[in-house]
C-alpha cells in the first residue's frame, strides 16, 4: 500500500508552567506594556468571575458560566485579533470579548436574562453568546465568506469547546472554510470537560486539533495557559487567513478550574486530584512570574492592579444593578423590522398582564 497523504499536528508552548520562556519570544512579548495589559485583562477576568459567581449565589444574577483557568486562551486570542475581525464566541470567553470592547455590565446584563446585554456598544459586528453548542461555527464561516466575496482583509474567529467539536455543524463549517479557503480561525478550547463528560470520552481522536484534517485545514495545539503562545499561534493563523491561505484549527489546551456553570457541581464527577494538578498549570502565575523575572512586576503593582480591577468591577456591577429593566413590550419590538399587524395586538395584551414583580 502506498502512502498518498501525510499529516502532523504540532504543539506550541512559549512560556512553561513556571513562566520560563521555552525559546525566543515573539515581538509583542518584548513590549512590557503589552504584556502588562494582557496580564491585567487576565486578572480582571479572574476577579470578575469571582464577583459574578457571588452575585449568582446571592440571587442577584442568573446562571453564570465562569472562565477561571481559561483566561490565557481568551486574552491571547483577543489580543491577536484586529478590531475589524469578527468574533463568534460560545459563552465564557469574556477575556476575548472584553479585549474587544464588550463591557462587564453587558456581560452581567446578559446573564441576568436580559437581551440588551447582547447589544454590545463596542464591537458592533461581533456575534453574541451562542448557547446551542457548535451552531456558531457556520456563522463564522459565513462571515468569512462575506469577507472573501468582498475582498476584505478581515477574519472570522469561532470559538468552540472540545465538547462542541462533536457537533456536525462544527465539522460542516470547517469543511466549508477549507474548501473555499475562507479567512477563518477555529479555536477549540479544550478545557478537559463538557459539563460532566471528559474530553477523552468525546472522541477517539488523539488531539482535537486533528479535526481540521477532515476539512483539509491545518490543525495545531497550543498550551492554552500560555498567553504568549496562544497569541503567537493566533497571530500566525490570522496572518495566513488574511493572506488568502485559508483557515486554521487551533486547539488550546487549558482547564476549566470552576464548575461548568453556577448550576453545576463538578465535584459530582471530577476527580479532585485532577483539579489540583490543573491549578499547578494555571495561566496567571506563569505570566506574572515571567513579568517579575523581567523586572516588570512586583507585589505593589499586583496590589494596585487588583484594587483597580476591583473598582472597575464594582462600577460595572453598579451600572448593572441600576440598568433600566426591560419593559414587557421589549419582547415584541425587535422580532421584525416591519412587524406584522397581529403582533401589536399581542403586545397590547402582554402589557395588560405584566408579570409579578420580583
Amino acid at each position: 500500500m502506498k502512502t498518498v497523504a501525510q499529516f502532523a499536528i504540532g504543539y506550541e508552548q512559549l512560556l512553561d508552567a513556571g513562566g520560563r520562556p521555552t525559546g525566543e519570544l515573539p515581538a509583542f512579548a518584548q513590549d512590557a506594556g503589552e504584556l502588562t495589559r494582557m496580564y491585567r485583562m487576565m486578572v480582571l477576568c479572574r476577579m470578575f468571575d469571582a464577583k459574578a459567581i457571588n452575585l449568582q449565589r446571592t440571587g442577584q444574577l442568573g446562571t453564570y458560566a465562569p472562565c477561571t483557568g481559561q483566561e490565557a486562551t481568551h486574552v491571547g486570542v483577543g489580543a491577536a485579533m484586529r478590531p475589524e475581525d469578527v468574533l463568534f464566541p460560545v459563552y465564557r470567553e469574556y477575556g476575548t470579548q472584553l479585549w474587544r470592547g464588550v463591557t462587564l455590565t453587558e456581560i452581567l446584563t446578559y446573564w441576568a436574562g436580559d437581551e440588551t446585554g447582547t447589544n454590545f456598544a463596542g464591537p458592533r459586528q461581533d456575534f453574541p453568546w451562542c448557547v446551542p453548542i457548535g451552531s456558531q461555527a457556520p456563522h463564522a464561516a459565513g462571515a468569512a465568506m462575506a469577507f472573501r466575496i468582498r475582498g476584505e482583509p478581515r477574519c472570522a474567529v469561532a470559538y468552540i469547546g472540545e465538547g462542541g467539536t462533536s457537533q456536525g455543524a462544527f465539522y460542516e463549517a470547517v469543511n466549508l472554510a477549507g474548501a473555499r479557503r475562507l479567512p477563518t480561525v477555529f479555536v477549540i478550547v479544550n478545557n478537559g470537560w463538557a459539563i460532566s463528560v471528559p474530553a477523552s470520552a468525546q472522541t477517539g481522536a488523539e488531539t482535537f486539533a486533528q479535526k481540521g484534517i477532515a476539512g483539509g485545514v491545518p490543525g495545531m495545539q497550543v498550551d492554552g495557559n500560555d498567553v504568549i503562545g496562544v497569541r503567537a499561534v493566533m497571530e500566525a493563523a490570522l496572518a495566513r487567513a488574511r493572506a488568502g491561505e485559508g483557515p486554521t484549527v487551533i486547539e488550546a489546551l487549558t482547564y476549566r478550574l470552576s464548575d461548568h456553570t453556577t448550576a453545576d457541581d463538578a465535584s459530582r464527577y471530577r476527580p479532585a486530584d485532577e483539579l489540583a494538578a490543573a491549578w499547578q498549570r494555571e495561566p496567571l502565575p506563569r505570566l506574572r512570574a515571567y513579568l517579575a523575572a523581567q523586572g516588570h512586576w512586583d507585589d505593589t503593582r499586583e496590589q494596585q492592579l487588583r484594587a483597580a480591577c476591583a473598582a472597575e468591577i464594582d462600577a460595572a456591577v453598579k451600572g448593572y444593578q441600576s440598568r433600566p429593566r426591560p419593559a414587557v413590550g421589549a419582547m415584541f419590538e425587535h422580532l421584525f423590522a416591519h412587524p406584522p399587524a397581529a403582533l401589536a395586538e399581542q403586545r397590547e395584551q402582554a402589557t395588560r398582564y405584566p408579570p409579578p414583580a420580583h
Binding site: G62, V131, A169, A201
Partner: protein
C-alpha cells in the same frame, strides 16, 4: 409507597425499566456519572454500567440517529435531550427516519425509542432552555407525543412509552420537576397511552391544557370556583394522538372551551384542538373558543419569561370572556 417529585418518579420508572428488561438502554448527554442535569438518571449508570447508561458525544442529531440503529437491532432506547431547544438537530432523524422506519419497511424494521426532554420555561434558565415545541413533533405521523403533569402519570406513562414498540416523544414539564410530591407506587404498572385525563370536573367551561400549565389552569379554576364558575380541567397528557373524544364530551357538557398552553399561539397545538371542535362540535359551542398561550415572539430571556408564560389572570379573564355570551 413513597412521596416523590416528578423527576424522582422518572428516575423510578427508568430504574424499573432497566431492571425489568435487559434490552433497555439509556443514552444522552451527562446522564451517566452526573445523573443528568436534572438528576433524572441519578444513580443509574452506577447500577447498570457504562454501556446500558451511556453518555454520548455532544450531538443531538447523533443521539437520535444512533437510537434508530440501536432500536432497529431490538434495543429499547431511552434517549435524553438535555433541553428542548436543543432538539432541533435531532428532528431530521426523528421525522425522516424514526417516525418512518416501520412504515418505510412495511413493518420489517421498527424504532422502539423514547426521547425524553424537558419542556417549558419558568426556571430562570438561559436562552434555549425554556422552549415549548411540542407541536413540531405532533405534526409528524408515526410519533406519539406524551406530556405528563404529575409524578404518578410520569411514572406510568414513561413505562408505557418504553414498552411501546414505536417511537414516543416524552416531554417533562421542567417547572414541575420538583414543584410537588405525590405518592407513587413503584409497581411497574404502565398507564395507557393516547388518553387525556380530567383533573377537575366542572360544568360551565372546559379548560384544556397540558404540562406545567396544568398548574396555572387549576389555580384559575379554583379562583373561578370562588366566583361560582365551574371549570372542567382536562390535562391533555397525550399530545399526539389527541384524545378528542374526551374534549368533545366535555364541551358537549359545558358549551365553552378555553385552551391554555405555553407554546407560541400561531400554529400551536391549541389550534388543532380548537379546529376539531369547530368541525365536530360547532353546535355545542355557546361562545367563541379562547386560546391562552405564549405570544408569537421567541421565548424571551428569563427576565421577561413570566410575562410570556400565561398567568392565572389571563386564564381567568379568558374564561370570563366565554361566559359573557
Amino acid at each position: 409507597m413513597a412521596r416523590v417529585t416528578l423527576v424522582e418518579s422518572i428516575n423510578l420508572a427508568l430504574n424499573r425499566a432497566l431492571a425489568d428488561d435487559p434490552d433497555v438502554v439509556l443514552i444522552g448527554e451527562d446522564i451517566g456519572v452526573n445523573g443528568g442535569v436534572f438528576r433524572a438518571t441519578q444513580g443509574l449508570q452506577q447500577r447498570y454500567g457504562e454501556w446500558r447508561v451511556q453518555d454520548t458525544p455532544l450531538a443531538e442529531g447523533l443521539i437520535a440517529g444512533m437510537s434508530i440503529g440501536m432500536a432497529a437491532q431490538g434495543l429499547r432506547v431511552v434517549a435524553e435531550i438535555q433541553f428542548m431547544g436543543f432538539m432541533y438537530p435531532a428532528l431530521d432523524q426523528i421525522a425522516n427516519h424514526m417516525a418512518r422506519l416501520r412504515n418505510r419497511t412495511r413493518g420489517r424494521l421498527t424504532c422502539p425509542v423514547v426521547i425524553r426532554m424537558p419542556h417549558g420555561g419558568g426556571i430562570h434558565a438561559p436562552e434555549h432552555h425554556s422552549e415549548s415545541l411540542e407541536v413540531l413533533f405532533c405534526h409528524h405521523a408515526g410519533l406519539r407525543v406524551v406530556c405528563p403533569s404529575t409524578p404518578a402519570a410520569a411514572y406510568g406513562l414513561l413505562l408505557a412509552a418504553i414498552r411501546d414498540p414505536d417511537p414516543v416523544i416524552f416531554l417533562e414539564p421542567t417547572r414541575l420537576y420538583r414543584m410537588a410530591r405525590q405518592e407513587v407506587l413503584d409497581n411497574g404498572n404502565a398507564l395507557p397511552l393516547d388518553r387525556a385525563q380530567i383533573l377537575r370536573e366542572g360544568d360551565d367551561v372546559t379548560l384544556v391544557t397540558w404540562g406545567a400549565m396544568t398548574h396555572e389552569s387549576l389555580q384559575a379554576a379554583q379562583q373561578l370556583a370562588q366566583r361560582k364558575i365551574s371549570c372542567e380541567v382536562i390535562d391533555l397528557t397525550s399530545l399526539s394522538p389527541i384524545d378528542h373524544d374526551c374534549i368533545l364530551d366535555s364541551v358537549a357538557h359545558t358549551g365553552r372551551l378555553v385552551i391554555v398552553h405555553e407554546a407560541a399561539r400561531n400554529a400551536g397545538l391549541g389550534a388543532e384542538i380548537a379546529a376539531t371542535v369547530a368541525e365536530r362540535a360547532l353546535y355545542d359551542l355557546l361562545a367563541p373558543v379562547e386560546r391562552v398561550t405564549g405570544y408569537d415572539t421567541v421565548m424571551p430571556y428569563f427576565g421577561l419569561e413570566k410575562a410570556y408564560i400565561p398567568g392565572v389572570d389571563r386564564i381567568v379573564d379568558a374564561v370570563l370572556r366565554t361566559l359573557e355570551t
